[in-house]
Amino acid sequence: MSTWRFAVNGEPVEVDVPGMRRLLDVLREDLALTGTKEGCGEGECGACTVLVDGAPVDSCLVPVCQVDGARIATVEGLAAPSPEGAVLDPLQQAFLEAGGAQCGICTPGMLMAARAYLDGGGGPDETAIRTAIAGNLCRCTGYTKIVDAIAIAAGGRG
């Protein structure tokens, strides 16, 4: 056991767990942030994508010792809290309107990959968007509406 310190969605956290414990398990089980999903446990599906210092990673492949001191962003941090309830991030809003989420299990990871793409200055270019989410499998949508949603959020609306 060691103590690992990092920030999740802007909040500092400290966990006492074995260093090889998966970041995914730390988030889901130790920090009760179950928005991040597990689809395969071997870095193929991208459902567990979170941002580590702004970069999308598969949290099932990252031991917690590697994120000591890092900034972690998960799906729970996208919407902004307000007295009336959460206000969706423009990316979440675009997914909702365009039909980018169906069963929703790939959605948290997909949103984080897309958030990293947009934060990196990505625009409404179809190939660039598809490349940015190529590590995130979706079995429901055929990707068309996900690509549309990201393009909308990138400022390509209408």
Partner: protein, 820 residues
């Protein structure tokens, strides 16, 4: 983007019916062209899914829960002699459950009683992933140690892996119409073909998961990822000897199903419940991807042979079709999968003389089961490739041969069903062809192919001399899909759905139909709200919990919008009439609160009643196999790498007639998603087996299309309403799955001149068909491929555009890769 159309703008008339006015529900809000319809509501559970708040099974926390695991067979066929527990392990902290611990019947309740919950010691193991022993422990580490400390003892038995050789037949059907011999005698050409498809995994991104919680009354509550709560409810009652109240099934948010969570969850629920009963603790049975891929159901592999008689003008006169499906080790849903396959085997085409023989047999492989399309994608792939080869033989356009034969109003199907209404085969075909500019693109690909064909190969080398390193092609396919359960299935189900005006004046929908991404929770309130004059968000949905909601039948067979949606509309109409009658005709929306305060809750239970004029005889297989059919056309454009054989599907246009469109965004989502699953089936998805075991049982090796593999899919929704449903909807889920694969294979043929007879059209198969290499197993994939290897495509002999209009008569199978 997508194009939305309204019906009846083509030559196909849609017969008006007494119920037709009801199909046009006037609702508030924005109007779409051609129909009076409001803007569709946003996905109801969308915000919860987008913020991470939605709770899927593995997200649920039950304090003190134990973890469960399944010890499975490693043999395909064996006698289970017993098992040993390593004495070095402290077994006092591990629960061990065997078949002897099952209080009720050791049967997974479904169509046939052949599948055990756990194989008993002394019993027969039928496949390599068969559950034998269950374990549970308070923590994962103990459980992991325990799993490795169990040794299974077996005596191997001779397995059967070839469905053609298997003598154990789960089901067989024969459908016949007309006079087959007379039909072939009348034919100018006869073409034979054999087509094969393998397993396909549903690959929902959320693995199967179930948590069982003991109840104080001796029963159990299970929370899980599932499509059919009442299937599980029935299974629990039977094997655990529980009353209806003691068995409770609650759906957690479900991360995709596609049929893969139709029947298998019953087994997982039973296992978790047995362990919960033993330990007195909640038990979590959460499959990882490997276990889910290795053990749960797949799409049935099939071998389909066609012998088709056709007139010189392309008119079909005889179809003799033989379908063999591999059921795997247990019956599961195989008889109904096969039944749907048999009924759809001829494709959406009029043919006066037909014989369809279908059988499904047992092999010592994990049981196959439900997957979107349910028997139809296998047979429609075969039917469409066969028709494409016929067109090539006759020198006809693939579009033209379809126009000549497709079903129209008044035509009769092989079961003797007269298609009285809602037939949009021509409509979807023309719209897809037009949007994809099919004939124009095809004439360009033909020119490119003729130019390339002059090059030949460098002798003794797989290299081609042409500078072209890739070839483009365009292909079309047409399909039909029976809406709802086959035959008298809906009558037997007798589903119930309810609408309730609560004491608080809120309206609530009570139904066992589940949400798994397709939009149940959005369209049901939308439909009910429209009937009651309310906004969609003024109608609540009760949880899919067997303690709360009635059995609305399983969430399968593209039946939810059509059948259960129809029940809810009828219930809402009755509720409205009841309330308005006792409030002097005042509008429901205005008086509901007052009515509730005065009269208390009012609940309307609506039970399914047979659609008028729909009759089917299950014994003779004659009659109306489905109340209505959906119709779909797909045009695919591909690039084939001539060096590697790799296929890139560049563009797809999918036109689907789904009856009245309830929610355009969700319906397009179904078409787009189903189309991509079909493209995966066509190009990359394949299960490899060795000794009855899946070799690629991980996501690293069973691959599905990524965003970069996926084409942009243009969905066109066509509406030919079905008068039997109060809203005119026919269902959308499965239809697009039937048509994508043959369109891709036709496009590959258009690109390179070779037909691929076996899915997926992998690089290996394409290179083999091109004659540049041989299949990996060293043997040609078929006699036709062998001929193609012997004789590569030659210059200037392409029969298609501008080809002779008087092709040579021929009998027997024609080499697909050979020029005319």
């Amino acid at each position: 983007m997508t194009i939305r159309t309204s019906p009846s703008r083509t030559t196909t008339p849609v017969t008006p019916s007494p119920a037709a006015p009801d199909a046009l529900v006037v609702r508030r809000g924005a109007l779409l062209p051609g129909r009076v319809r409001p803007a569709a509501p946003l996905r109801r559970e969308g915000p919860a899914k987008l913020t991470g708040e939605a709770k899927y099974a593995d997200d649920l926390v039950f304090p003190g829960a134990w973890y469960g695991a399944t010890i499975r067979s490693a043999d395909a066929h064996a006698r289970f002699d017993g098992f040993d527990l390593d004495p070095a392990l402290d077994w006092s902290s591990v629960a061990v459950v065997t078949a002897a611990d099952i209080p009720g019947e050791n049967i997974v309740s479904l169509i046939s009683d052949d599948q055990p919950v756990l194989v008993p010691v002394g019993g027969e193991i039928q496949h390599h992933a068969e559950p034998l022993v269950l374990l549970a422990a308070a923590d994962r580490e103990t459980l992991r140690s325990a799993r490795h400390a169990v040794t299974i003892r077996t005596t191997p038995l001779e397995p059967v892996f070839d469905p053609l050789a298997s003598e154990h037949v789960f089901a067989h059907y024969e459908i016949a119409s007309g006079d087959l011999d007379a039909g072939f005698a009348e034919a100018d050409f006869i073409l034979e073909g054999e087509y094969r498809v393998g397993h396909q995994e549903q690959l929902y991104i959320e693995n199967n998961a179930m948590i069982a919680v003991p109840r104080e009354d001796g029963g159990v509550a299970v929370h899980g990822s599932l499509q059919c709560p009442y299937y599980i409810h029935k299974a629990l009652k039977r094997s655990l000897r529980l009353t209806a109240e003691q068995a409770r099934v609650v759906q957690a948010e479900t991360g995709g199903g596609f049929g893969g969570k139709e029947e298998y969850p019953s087994i997982i629920a039973l296992h978790a419940a047995l362990l919960a009963r033993r330990t007195g603790k909640p038990v979590r049975m959460i499959y990882d991807r490997h276990e889910d891929l290795a053990a749960t159901t797949k799409r049935h592999p099939a071998i389909v042979t066609h012998r088709t008689g056709v007139k010189a003008d392309g008119t079909l006169v005889a179809q003799d079709i033989d379908v063999v499906m591999d059921g795997g080790a247990y019956c599961t849903l195989t008889p109904v999968v096969l039944s749907r396959g048999a009924i759809h085997a001829g494709g959406p085409y009029r043919c006066p003389n037909v014989r369809i023989r279908a059988r499904a047999t047992r092999t010592n492989t994990p049981p196959n089961g439900a997957f979107r399309g349910f028997g139809a994608p296998q047979v429609e792939f075969a039917a469409e490739v066969q028709l494409g080869r016929l067109a090539e033989t006759l020198g006809m356009s693939p579009l033209e041969i379809r126009r000549r034969n497709l079903y129209r109003i008044g035509d009769e199907t092989p079961t003797g069903q007269i298609l009285r209404e809602s037939v949009a085969a021509e409509d979807v075909l023309e719209r897809a062809a037009e949007a994809a500019e099919f004939e124009g693109v095809r004439s360009r690909t033909a020119k490119a192919r003729a130019r390339r064909a002059g090059s030949g190969h460098v002798p003794g080398s797989p290299l081609r001399t042409s500078r072209d390193r890739s070839a483009s092609g365009i292909g079309v396919a047409l399909a039909w899909h029976g809406a709802g359960f086959t035959g008298s299935g809906e009558v037997k189900l007798a589903s119930v759905a309810s609408v309730e005006l609560g004491g608080d004046g809120r309206v609530r929908i009570l139904t066992g139909s589940t949400e798994m991404g397709q939009g149940t929770k959005t369209i049901f309130p939308q439909l009910v709200a429209a009937e009651l004059g309310l906004a969609a968000d003024e109608v609540d949905m009760a949880a899919q919990d067997t303690a709360l909601v009635p059995d609305s039948g399983p969430t399968v067979a593209s039946r939810t919008a059509m059948v259960v949606g129809g029940l809810l509309i009828q219930a809402a109409r009755r509720l409205r009439a009841t309330v308005e009658e006792r409030n002097a005709g005042a509008a429901f929306a205005d008086v509901r609160a007052r009515d509730a305060a005065t009269h208390g809750p009012t609940r309307i239970d609506q039970q399914f009643e047979p659609y008028p004029h729909v009759h089917f005889d299950d014994d003779t297989y004659r009659g109306d196999a489905y109340p209505a059919f959906g119709w779909a056309a797909c045009v695919a454009t591909v690039d084939v790498d001539l060096d590697s054989g790799e296929v890139t599907v560049r563009d797809v246009v999918a036109a689907d007639d789904i009856g009245t469109v309830i929610h355009p965004v969700l319906a397009e989502g179904q078409v787009e998603g189903g189309t991509l699953q079909a493209i995966g089936y066509a190009t990359i998805e394949e299960i490899k087996l060795r000794h009855g075991r899946y070799l690629n049982d991980r996501l690293a090796t069973y691959i599905i299309p990524t965003a970069l593999d996926a084409p942009r899919i243009h969905a066109i929704l066509v509406e030919a309403p079905f008068s039997g449903a109060p809203h005119g909807a026919k269902g959308v889920g499965e239809l697009p799955m039937d048509v994508g694969a043959p369109a891709v294979v036709a496009a590959i043929h258009d690109a390179v001149g070779a037909w691929i007879h076996e899915l997926p059209a992998s690089p290996e198969r394409i290179l083999a068909a091109l004659g540049t290499t041989r299949p990996v197993d060293g043997a040609p994939a078929s006699a036709e491929v062998a001929a193609a290897i012997a004789e590569p495509i030659e210059a200037g002999t392409d029969p298609r555009p501008g080809a002779a209009t008087d092709p040579q008569p021929m009998r027997g199978p024609r080499d697909p890769g050979e020029p005319t």
